[in-house]
């Protein structure tokens, strides 16, 4: 009986998808939709507002630091809400309702914190299509997530090369 109950609880664990608004996450969202439908799992969308740009307010002759920091915060918040809205709309097209989470901080830390704060059956992230070598690949967010050794299974979905990028922040603070 206990074993059956455990397995029933595990079935309810949602799929977590980390999105950053870049084109490569479109493939990851599509994959999340497919898996959520076939496994009948709820989906949670996680977007992390990376404050990476704020560190530069310490530049030697930086003027108008406060205005700059407010501007970065405002842009990150706007981009975050837009990113989440696009992801939810995409999932809704497949008949999947989702819950959205927006966190602030270094993306790897924020994703790990979310995995520790709740039980998830799967984490899905997109990977940027690139021609770079192992040096570039091993330092990107999916690689660092894989190396972090989280107990939640990780699915890395490679993105397709496309010029359809929208401006905005990226979850791992990188460009296409």
């Amino acid at each position: 009986m206990d074993s059956d109950t455990d397995s029933a609880e595990r079935d309810d664990r949602p799929i977590l998808i980390a999105v950053d608004g870049e084109s490569h996450t479109h493939a990851a969202i599509a994959e999340a939709a497919r898996l959520a439908r076939s496994l009948d799992r709820p989906v949670r969308i996680l977007h992390v507002e990376d404050p990476y740009l704020k560190q530069f307010s310490n530049e030697i002759y930086a003027q108008g630091r406060e205005e700059y920091l407010e501007h970065v915060d405002r842009c990150l918040a706007e981009d975050g809400h837009e990113t989440v809205r696009v992801a939810r709309d995409r999932l809704r097209e497949d008949g999947i309702e989702s819950e959205a989470l927006i966190r602030k901080g270094e993306p790897l830390d924020a994703i790990r914190a979310e995995l520790e704060s709740a039980a998830y059956s799967l984490l899905i992230v997109g990977r940027k299509p690139r021609s770079g070598g192992w040096w570039r690949q091993r330092r990107d967010l999916p690689a660092r997530l894989a190396a972090a050794g989280c107990s939640t299974p990780l699915l890395i979905v490679p993105g397709e090369k496309t010029s359809n990028c929208k401006p905005g922040t990226t979850a791992d603070g990188e460009k296409d």
Partner: protein, 420 residues
Amino acid sequence: MSVLRSLIVPGWTKYIPGLLLCVVFAILTMNIDHVLHRYTAAHLASAGLPVLLAQHAELEAIGDSDGAARIQKKIDKHEAALQKVGGSVGDEWGWAAFFYETFQFKYVAMLLVFGILIRNTVGVPKIFLPGIGIARPLIKPGIIILGVHYVWTDVLRVGGVGLVLASVFIFGTAITVMWISRRAGVSDGLGGIMGAGTGVCGVSAIIATAPVVGAKPRDMAYAIGTILLFGTVMLFVMPYLGTAIGLSQSQFGAWSALAILNTAQLIAAAEWFGEEARDTAVLINAARIMLIPLIVMFAVWFYGLKGKGRDAGFWATMRAKFPIFILGFFALILLNSLHLPIFGGPKVVDSPFWAMDVVYKWLFAIGFAGIGLSISIDDMRKAGGVAFLIGSGAAIAKMILGLVVVLLLGTELLRVTGGL
């Protein structure tokens, strides 16, 4: 009490570990620099002393007592250099001379190279990052103190030439970059920050301009990555290029102030090249950064942002974007120009200005430690797209045009005398 409390930065304790790390790093490096300098001096003395002794004997033989006395001073200096390391004529410390003289591996280069290596190999634990971030602006009080190296004639001559050159280069670059960006269909946000960043002083100008032109985070990441990439490349390439071309100290100072895209890197490059280069670079850069508010206003006009509520007005923009600390720099120049005995001078041992001059180098060293430990290859990897094309074009054009201009101007017009 509340006034005192308001002076304390909230969460100040988080800055302590990183600042301490930079201080320790600076002390270690300054000591290595000191040792290398001492052994290099001993190496040169060991080789030069026999020649000087022979010259001294010849001058004494022909009865030239003035010449002999002059040579004797040099002999004393050389003997003191040998004594400091416990060496004698014939001893060699070629390794020290190679690093310090031939390879120019001085404290600036050590702090930057080792800092970059640490940051990008073993990494810097997060606990140190806030303190490392605020170590960089310590260069600012160092620059204020450097005011004791100048007199008003320097400001009028070198600063005047610098202001003209900086204005031409800044507005020339900004107008060109913004115009090309608009023609190429680049967004106002990216074109605006790249125009300001490549024109004035890199990341500092991007920070001042980004909110005004409404740059997106992605654009800022591209632009900052590009500026840092080219600033860092130029920092390590230009001192060696300057030596190879045979530029004088003052010429190199002016060249770096005109060509290097980011402020931190330009000060580091000039300090690395030599004291005279640094004095010229800092003065021209002072003229350059005073133009930040004007470039912000230019961007507002160029992109027609006045009607979009982005124009704060002339005085409000001046108040928000003018680098007020530079007034401290000019106040010290004024005091130094008065030649008041109470302040002495940077060369007058035990005087207040001499003490301040000692302090500046430590502030620079801690600041450079912060810069080295902050230079992340990951940040520079963000360079790309149109920003990279614009940045590379501006960097190469400024480097070549700046070199031509300083070669045409010569040394005298760019030399800081300090009243000597």
